[in-house]
Subunit: 352 residues, 4 copies
């Protein structure tokens, strides 16, 4: 940061929704960014934020934010960078309008993730993909983070894919309730129960990792990773923290010790650049077979670290293990903020 | 039943434990059996059952049972058939002593399951294996039922293995708390949480199905099925009902419609013989992608039916689906009672 | 029942809602009634029930009902008796229109409960109040049952008020989620949490018992009971079964043994008349201080019995105790059905 | 603090238990205290702490602590101040032995709470009672904190009793699972359930507040407050945070606004002395009728603040409201640490 005294103004699109609220909560006291604009649907525009929102975060609503006026989601906000927590039903054209108008759109929505020139970004995994924005035709740019259940998985796969090559991945998820937004899942559907279905989730988990682990070619195109992924997604009675039971096949013979070592050695650009939201270490591996567990470990690295455990042989593929990550922090708003930090650190926001 | 007017007296070994209690609850009003003996540890022997037990079943303790005296677990009980809900730590020698003394031991313990001449039995799956008891050197006999997480899986596999042949099975479980007994899992370990580990469970799930789906050869030996199974076992905040996310590879090309048809067509000896505990149908397949769910469907067929849903293509193996079965009924006490019913219906209890 | 061979046709108003579904589930196999009409909002009218409803009861949707056509909520249904599970927002005028047109309306809605000539009825408590319908100006009639949290309390109070007179009642509830309907309470609001507020509930609990325990005077007016009630209502993470912590002051000196005796002796008209939904006994008192508990005891008497426990001295009033009743059975649809049974048994449906 | 550079060494009695672990977690990075001794039962003595403990706190076990040797609970520890998280079954004589030997014993156990010369202390409520230690015959001293369910209640009552005088208090609790220790409550007893009984709890809640709100007389004796308290204690499916539904009668006429004002104005010695564990403000009052809630508000003031809401008229006493406090922080280990801070700040530990 050239000028640490002066924070960068940022806006929140979809500020009253559950992801928007999380952006506000996490950006509170951010060393680089300060929220100067809140935008939401027409219904909320023109109201004070405190009157427009049904705030349900654990941290109290910051008073400065509470008394800000909510704007409509049109590209006339007093900031260059906007975080989009918009619902997928409306995110597409709104985010494009902002990008057209010159805004840097850091989006958590799924709409543009698979677009050819839009980086689908996890800073520890594919920081170079950020360069894709130079291929975008917008005056501004759009950068996206993956689906919440994809993020933890890919963080676990990254060091293994780099060292050993991965051929096949089986993953069965046990996903937290906050992933469905608010009010989301009815209590009557989940107390003493679980749901073996999350609409659209398996499709996302089977394709997004291939782009994330893909190679940015000379011509500015991502060559998708050649990995077969099969996902089964379930909802369980946990508030936050997606657990995943993973099994995978390498492209070569790999010892279990080498797998654990690869995880423990793992560090990446966000850690080297000391980005504010970068967890250090990014991965925790537990020797205790009972770990990781959502309530105990989801908050490691302020919710940005990914936890691993139970590495053992698989009688069909090579190894199996458990991975946990916080779905609304690392898997959504926190991941997007880390994306913005990388982008700012590298100066992309001052281009174009 | 030669004489339907006169019920067969049966005893319960480990009568104060959680499986023992479930035996008592389920045998209440059984058309063939009447509980005439309760045996437990030295600590309980000599007390009235109501003073020895911490009864925690939903149904109230039957008054007749409440006032029965608890015996020690020695083979001097006034009955020919005993149901064993003994803990694995003590079941081995006690069950053998009863079998030596001429008792028919219907056991839910794991100790003798894999012994060469002991039937590991699910009446819908391998009723012919019951004949293994003729190879036993006991004056009586021992018959076992599989682990609670094995039962649902194998019920789902059976019609498919018969019609199409199965080569590989991936299974990730979401298991209920009652599987850990009482008090079992601490509430502090499971509220807003899950546990990715159940000691010894994966090993059982990987071997037991091979014996169950194996072939009883002429010489009286079970030729294990040639299937590769990989299991990952997790505990979730559900009281009863094990859910399992399964993926499998057939030995030939199979259409999804044929899989569903095989399940819907499935019926077996217990249904044909109209055994009292036989669910009819034994399998339910749901078209609604949100189903099955533990709280909604675990009690189908009085807890003896197995529920299936979400059949779809697997991008690594062939198909994937969800299976649910009630772990303390079909997967434990109820399964053992069905075993006893088959044995009695076929007259084995009058042999030797 | 004059003619037990021929069941009485009944209709359900609000048939697709959560109370409507419960009516259908509970009336399945009713010995006197058969559902011949389903009515719901304009949106559902004209559809087959199975296409109009999001059925979420534990029991599967009965096939005969599934294929019935849904009617609009206008008084042209092929039956004399209708059960109303309508939402309070619309119940008022619709129920009146049916009553005007000659229907016997058995309502679970709050709209007419406190109307002077409408019986607020619990058959064990104030069966004589049914006579109020003769004061109604309708061609038909309206009969109501109380709020779900009122019912259990008043069932506990009735035998004590009759024997000893009650002066003051303190009650703090721990209410189940199903009381809020479906989807009702968000899972994110109740996992590892509770909510100290249920809108409008305390007001209902403080007034309804006074009418229920009131005296029907010669002139056909209910003289409300003179009891001071203070209620505090909370929502907890339980699917079904309202628990209440009660403290009360008698009008005279009463021994604890006499209180328990009054509960254990209690029986009333529904039991004497052997109404199909009448639990027998209506009240259970547990000596075990850990009881009653929702999951263990809510289904006693098929969900129609009320459970009591922990009677002890109160250092401010006289005694305190715990009461439990099933909120969607005894406290809603089941209670309404018992009301209809009493009404039919006494021949009111053939009057006017 | 005379010498802020040099931390005061402290020991933990019962260091492997659940309260002992919480002491270790909370004292990590304490500005005044450093843990230099861990004592536990004979079974643990002589082992490294990491081998003796089943650590189940959310924060990881601090490495320095992990490698400390566990001592027996005999008064030969290298520190003057010891925190006792001992079980009540053994705490009595051990704590006395330490006090006899000159140690300052800061106890969370119930054993000595009601002893005449032992301060039962909440620094915001009765800091002057600390002086009772001068009446103790020990070379050292014993100071205690109240039961976890008492603490939140008395924090709420204190400013009201001071301003208006309280005559009667009704309280019904909804208590968290961690209050029962670990493993404590079985998951099978609490999922989709609650328990209307906590052994011994109501008795403690009815007497402890009277000592806490009592007056220390000239002669060094506490004159108990003259308040009638009636408590009903329940366990609910919440991990941390005791909720209480309270109703109370003042000794004079009081407006609701004055009650809220008294809470909002409240501040006390710990806040004035800026003790490290003193929450500021000590009390939060919420206007939103849905608040406070355990998961949202238990961690306010790092778990040391008490939350209040829903003040309204009571139709039997004067007002009713809801109170919440964190049972293992404010109600146990954190409360004890605040006691130690007050004692040290006032120099009592250097006396005798």
């Amino acid at each position: 940061m050239q000028n640490p005294d002066k924070k960068i103004p940022v806006g929140i699109l979809g500020a009253t929704g559950s992801v928007g609220q999380k952006f506000i909560e996490l950006l509170q006291d951010h060393p680089w960014f300060t929220v100067t604009a809140l935008a939401a649907s027409e219904r909320s525009a023109g109201k004070l934020y405190k009157h427009a929102v049904n705030w349900f975060q654990q941290a109290p609503l910051p008073p400065r934010i509470a008394n800000m006026m909510v704007s409509a989601c049109v590209p006339a906000l007093p900031c260059r960078i906007v975080f989009s927590g918009l619902d997928a039903a409306v995110a597409g054209p709104i985010e494009e309008a902002f990008a057209e108008a010159g805004y840097v759109v850091i989006s958590n929505a799924k709409n543009h993730r698979m677009a050819e020139t839009v980086p689908l970004l996890i800073p520890e995994v594919n920081p170079d993909h950020l360069d894709l924005v130079r291929k975008q035709h917008y005056k501004g740019m759009i950068v996206t983070n993956p689906n919440c259940s994809t993020t933890g998985l890919v963080m676990a796969l990254k060091p293994l894919h780099d060292r050993f090559g991965i051929e096949k991945v089986f993953v069965v998820t046990h996903q937290a309730l906050s992933g469905a937004g608010y009010p989301g899942v009815s209590s009557l559907d989940i107390i003493d129960n679980m749901i073996p279905y999350i609409g659209g989730e398996e499709e996302k988990m089977q394709i997004e990792p291939l782009k994330l682990l893909g190679t940015l070619e000379e011509g500015g195109k991502v060559d998708f990773a050649n990995i077969a992924i099969s996902a089964q997604c379930n909802r369980v009675a946990v508030t936050n923290g997606h657990m995943e039971s993973v099994s995978l096949k390498f492209r070569s013979t790999v010892k279990k010790e080498a797998v654990v070592q690869a995880w423990r050695d793992f560090t990446a650009q966000p850690q080297e650049l000391e980005l504010p939201f970068a967890p250090n270490p990014p991965l925790y591996y537990f020797d205790d077979p009972r770990y990781p567990q959502p309530r105990l470990h989801r908050d490691l690295g302020k919710g940005m670290a990914v936890s691993l455990g139970r590495l053992r042989d698989c009688s069909i593929l090579d190894v199996k293990f458990t991975v946990l990550s916080h779905n609304t922090i690392r898997g959504a708003a926190g991941g997007a903020i880390l994306n913005a930090e990388l982008l700012v650190k590298k100066g992309y926001h001052e281009e174009q």
